[in-house]
């Protein structure tokens, strides 16, 4: 319990210290890295106990009578928290390279909000009931807003408006509604194995509720509520990398998984007709987002649409509501995170070294930035789901889940989308390595700063390591489905 309290306090205290040391960049960034490491360490120290079945619990406050703001650690949350905090360490190293090289303004605000965002993400991971999860979900939206609008330009303001509009709109309009309705129906908002809604209402009503949840969790970016994610790409690249490929979006799908497993229960879900429609919407999102990604010339925008497509995999896996689907969805949270963060790191490295953002400008860049583009190529293969990378394993399980559930349309779309993923990522690799620049470079540039290279090397390794040693992931995910059935 003290370790849990420690874990939830570390990023907050870190944020305060970052503000206090704002005048001394070296101290400030040391504090940032130390906070990230401490956070990871304290979360990791909880892991073995959770793995053995312990459920550390901590009540923080009671905002509403009978509804506490509380933390309870369980395997899925543990996985999400480990992932977010581990990648935070790497991203902080990357940020230092990126922010210094770009000579960005307001760096103290940047690091402070980053720590606060991680605090909210860890809060989400450990949230002990729906209300707590919702509270941290909203805090994550608000604490990332200053990061999205970091540049302060008109474009940033507009992006921020879309970001906040969609995320607050869906969460207050649908999600909060669904939560209060659940409270009304079930009389509890606790996460219970097997769900709390079983038998409380007709399948039609539960269907409406399920839709409110899936669309209300805007962070899962299911179409048509996906616009905020491309809009958020105006943020500095470390933000896009950690928050809009990992913490925020994975927070969204994590929420979906929690709702499916602990609120509806995977036995109740297949009886709901609306689930079938939501499965169609998720498959449509996979396809449409991939098609849109094909047409983006801006590298970050292409990656953003790729994220939308990949997130829909996880939602699809969750909605399949069988062991393989949940297992695949859970693993995909982690495996996609490593691949996508690497891709964003590369996009940022290119921006830092060459100030280029468009794919059409990248001809021949592989020659001057071999390490960056090499990592990009590996991560691209990972996204596609090529065997020596971890995504292969998670995709495999989702596919197996779809076959088990008899969702042949989903199976077909999953296979097709693999081709589409290759279609929008491999041309970037090809352009970088095999095309010759149209006009000669008028400025010479080399590789990105070492801090950036170090970070993207670590995450690239991660995608490979997870393929060869998926046991840790599998063990966590198995615990989840084991307790869910």
């Amino acid at each position: 319990m003290t370790a849990l309290l420690f874990a939830i306090l570390v990023p907050l205290v870190g944020a305060v210290l970052i503000v206090l040391t704002g005048r001394h960049p070296n101290v400030r960034e040391t504090v940032s890295i130390l906070t990230a490491i401490l956070l990871f360490a304290s979360i990791a120290s909880l892991a073995p106990a959770v793995f053995d079945g312990a459920r550390p619990h901590l009540a923080l406050a009671e905002p509403l009578p009978g509804l506490a703001l509380q933390l309870t650690v369980e395997p899925l949350g543990m996985l999400f928290a480990l992932l977010a905090s581990l990648l935070w360490i790497v991203t902080t190293i990357y940020s230092i390279g990126y922010m210094r090289a770009r000579q960005e303004n307001h760096q103290t605000r940047f690091y402070t909000c980053f720590a606060l965002s991680l605090w909210a993400a860890v809060g989400m991971a450990f949230a002990g009931n729906l209300l707590s999860l919702f509270i941290f979900y909203e805090l994550l939206t608000l604490s990332t807003y200053p990061l999205v609008t970091h540049a302060g330009t008109a474009a940033a303001r507009h992006g921020g408006r879309v970001y906040l509009g969609v995320l607050l709109g869906t969460s207050i309009g649908f999600l909060l509604f669904a939560i209060i309705w659940t409270w009304q129906l079930a009389g509890t908002l606790d996460f219970v194995d097997g769900g709390i809604l079983k038998g409380t209402a007709t399948p039609a009503l539960l269907g409406i509720l399920l839709m409110l949840y899936i669309f209300g969790i805007g962070k899962a970016a299911i179409m048509p509520f996906h616009r905020w994610l491309p809009a958020a790409m105006v943020a500095p690249t470390p933000v896009s990398a950690l928050l809009h490929a990992v913490a925020v979006v994975k927070g969204g799908v994590f929420f979906v998984l929690k709702v499916v497993v602990y609120v509806f229960g995977i036995d109740t879900l297949p009886a709901i007709d609306a689930r079938q429609w939501l499965l169609y919407i998720a498959t449509a999102t996979i396809l449409l987002a991939a098609v849109v990604a094909l047409r983006q010339d801006n590298l970050k925008a292409r990656l953003a649409y790729s994220t939308i497509s990949q997130l829909a995999y996880i939602v699809l896996g969750a909605l399949l509501a069988n062991a393989a689907g949940i297992l695949g969805a859970t693993m995909h949270i982690a495996t996609h995170a490593f691949g996508k963060i690497t891709l964003f790191f590369c996009a940022g490295a290119i921006l830092v070294s060459t100030r280029r953002t468009r794919i059409s400008e990248l001809a021949g860049i592989g020659r001057s930035m071999p390490w960056t583009m090499g990592a990009f190529a590996i991560a691209a293969l990972a996204m596609i789901g090529m065997p020596p990378t971890a995504v292969f394993v998670s995709k495999w399980y989702i596919l197996a889940g779809a076959v088990d559930a008899g969702q042949m349309l989903a199976v077909a779309v999953l296979l097709l989308s693999t081709l589409l993923t290759a279609g929008y990522l491999l041309p970037v690799v090809y352009t970088a390595f095999f095309e010759t620049p149209g006009k000669p470079d008028n400025e010479t540039h080399g590789e990105a700063p070492p801090a950036i290279l170090l970070a993207l090397g670590v995450t690239t390794l991660g995608t490979l390591v997870l393929f060869f040693f998926p046991d840790l992931l599998l063990a966590f995910a198995n615990q989840l489905t084991g307790s869910g059935t």
Partner: protein, 497 residues
């Protein structure tokens, strides 16, 4: 000994402070007197609430005259809760007032200003505490007349017309209330609320009683600024001195709402108001109109004080909506929102007062770049705004939660959706200001340098902001008190068994 006299001290302390302020004829001393009186009233209210929370009902006979001959003050959980928020806001605003009043009011009139402020506070507390219908009217007029004067203290010329407008509307409302009370007196032969409540059920089908009910409802609705009787409110809030706006916005409509609750539930009884009379459907329609019309109007305002005034019109809609559910949860939500809204609007208007203090204007244009030049003020404004929107861990969230639960309890899910939709409109108008403050360059380059408001104004503003957060994180006091108050109103706990 003194404990026994708390109910009368609650009113008499501010009322006596008024002439003292005037006699002192010194700005600092007048401020000090009113500050002490305000805080004393707050302490008394806290003591009364702690008694009321134990389920105790304090009855106090003025001058020892037995009720029905004399005037009775009666404190139960409902008015104890209202007394606490009114005196609490009053004392925080007074703390804030010194610098702000110095800036905004002609200096020779400052003692007079504090005197009238005290009358206003005393009147509002009197309305809440009294158990006598006519006495209630008298106190309501004391507070209303004082408010007209307070608004007219502003150096802006438009304040005079808006005070005049408010005077006309307020007087019509007061007349309606007086007619209603007169009719009740005619039918029951008493002005004591207990006795009226006891005698009314015997004659509930009587047309005069129905007429009295109608007059009272409309009269109080004018004071409450319920759509479509809200026209006085935006101008009055927009042109009043900052301190006055903060105080009136947070207390005056709340007191009117309390009067509505008292008459509907205690005097007429819930069954008369909601079964014999179609109050539920009328209030439902008006509440929805207020929520949406108020929020949409707020989006298009250029003067930020006016913007928040329209937002108040919308928020009053939420409270009325709570009543229209005619259920215990709905009533709890309404009372809770009464308290919570006072905290939000008080905090927001105090933050705006800081801006006015430095720049002499609160137009949208003036808000540009304030994030840089007044970081603490704008941080307070953002948190207050989030509370208004209803973001978790603020009081606004607690209110919204209870309202939606109440709507769903009845199966009125379209209403529940409407509540959430209306709160999204709040995002739009609050975020206009946030974007101006943080993303737009100041119109005048001199605004770019830090010009934070003085600490004596920032601290009270932040005190209310912290209250917004505190009661959002731990709502046990407010939700318990509101739930007990709702029970008390529904069970007519004013009546002795």
């Amino acid at each position: 000994m003194t404990a026994q006299h708390l109910p009368i001290l609650q009113v008499i302390v501010p009322l006596l402070a008024a002439p003292l302020c005037l006699l002192s004829s010194n700005r600092q001393i007048a401020w000090l007197i009113s500050l002490i009186a305000g805080w004393t009233a707050f302490v008394i209210a806290a003591l009364l609430l702690s008694q009321a929370l134990d389920g105790e009902i304090v009855s106090y006979e003025l001058g020892g005259w037995l009720a029905d001959w004399g005037i009775e003050y009666r404190v139960d959980i409902v008015n104890a809760f209202v007394l606490l928020i009114v005196s609490g806001i009053g004392s925080v605003v007074l703390l804030y007032a010194r610098r702000s009043v110095w800036q905004e009011i002609y200096h020779d009139r400052i003692p007079l200003f504090y005197a009238i402020f005290m009358l206003c506070l005393g009147g509002l507390l009197g309305v809440a505490i009294t158990g006598d219908a006519f006495n209630l009217f008298v106190f309501m007029e004391i507070s209303s007349l004082a408010s007209y004067a307070l608004i007219a203290f502003s150096q802006e010329r438009r304040a005079l017309t808006s005070a005049y407008q408010y005077l006309i509307m307020g007087t019509i409302g007061a007349t309606f209330i007086l007619i209603g009370i007169g009719l009740l007196y005619m039918m029951t032969g008493t002005l004591n609320m207990q006795d009226i409540a006891r005698r009314l059920p015997l004659i509930s089908g009587n047309h005069t009683v129905v007429t009295a009910f109608a007059f009272l409802t409309v009269g109080i609705s004018i004071k409450l600024a319920l759509v479509p009787l809200h026209l006085w409110l935006p101008n009055a809030y927009a042109y009043a001195p900052s301190v006055v706006t903060a105080f009136i916005a947070a207390t005056s409509t709340k007191i009117a709402f309390y009067v509505l609750l008292r008459f509907m539930y205690t005097l007429f009884g819930a069954s008369f108001a909601f079964q014999n009379m179609p109050l539920s459907i009328i209030f439902l329609a008006l509440a929805l109109a207020a929520m949406f019309a108020g929020s949409v109007a707020a989006i298009f305002q250029d003067n930020v004080k006016r913007l928040l005034a329209y937002s108040s019109v919308a928020q009053i809609g939420y409270m009325i909506l709570g009543i229209s559910f005619a259920s215990a949860t709905g009533l709890t939500a309404a009372i809770l929102h009464l308290f919570n809204h006072a905290l939000m609007k008080g905090a927001l208007f105090l933050a705006l007062g800081c801006v006015y203090y430095r720049f002499g204007s609160v137009n949208m244009e003036q808000m540009r770049g304030l994030g840089r030049s007044m970081p603490w003020t704008m941080a307070a404004f953002v948190i207050g705004g989030l509370s208004l929107i209803g973001v978790p861990l603020t009081v606004g969230f607690i209110s919204k939660w209870y309202l939606v639960v109440a709507a769903l309890e009845l199966g009125w899910w379209p209403i529940a959706a409407a509540i959430l939709l209306a709160s999204l409109l709040a995002v739009v108008y609050i975020w206009r200001i946030v974007e101006a403050a943080y993303f737009q360059a100041p119109a005048d380059s001199s605004n770019a340098v830090p010009r934070e408001a003085p600490l004596s104004m920032l601290l009270p503003t932040w005190a209310l902001i912290i209250a917004n957060l505190y009661f959002g994180i731990d709502s046990s006091l407010t939700t318990t008190a509101a739930a007990q108050a709702a029970q008390c109103l529904l069970a007519m706990c004013m009546l002795p068994p």
